[in-house]
Amino acid sequence: MIELLLQIAFAILAAALLLGFYRLAKGPTVVDRILAFDAVVLCAVAMTALLSRWWQSVFYMELILIVSTLGFFGAVAFVLFLQRSLPYGGEEAEEADKEDKP
């Protein structure tokens, strides 16, 4: 019974992960992709928590903390990098500028 319920939870989280990958591939701007990547990492964290529940093991808590830390700092690093290099108005504005100039 409990295993069936855990499998249902795994299926729900896998569907959420696939939706995140869809947004990661399609996202119109870079910022959308950063956001979707953060969400995908957090889905992986949630699956790790479910795995820890399934195998009745306490050793996955460090993994949960470390992976969520990695996702957070990845998002922060991307945002701080893009604050300097992303053109005003997004990539489409820059491409339109390039087409206008010559």
Partner: protein
Amino acid sequence: MNLQMEHVSVGVMILGALLVLVAMIGIVRFPDVFCRAHALGKGLTLGLMVLLFGLWLDPATEVSGLKVIAAIFFQFVTLPVASHLIARLSYEKNLPRVRRR
């Protein structure tokens, strides 16, 4: 009693997984970056906190109680910060946004 707690913990974890799924549907369906950052910062935070709370309720893994609480606190601190940074970046760079009447 222990068996009841196991069922309760699995039910709470399924509730958290459903909240995560709802947040991801929001990330896919919402029209611009600001709405998506809203779905990330509220839906995913609540979903992960509920899911880790279900892990905390489980009687077999309760020896790691303080670590689970630390993980819940960490999600509660970092996820809204990341969402806010993303929304602030897209506001500063004037990314396209929807305006509907």
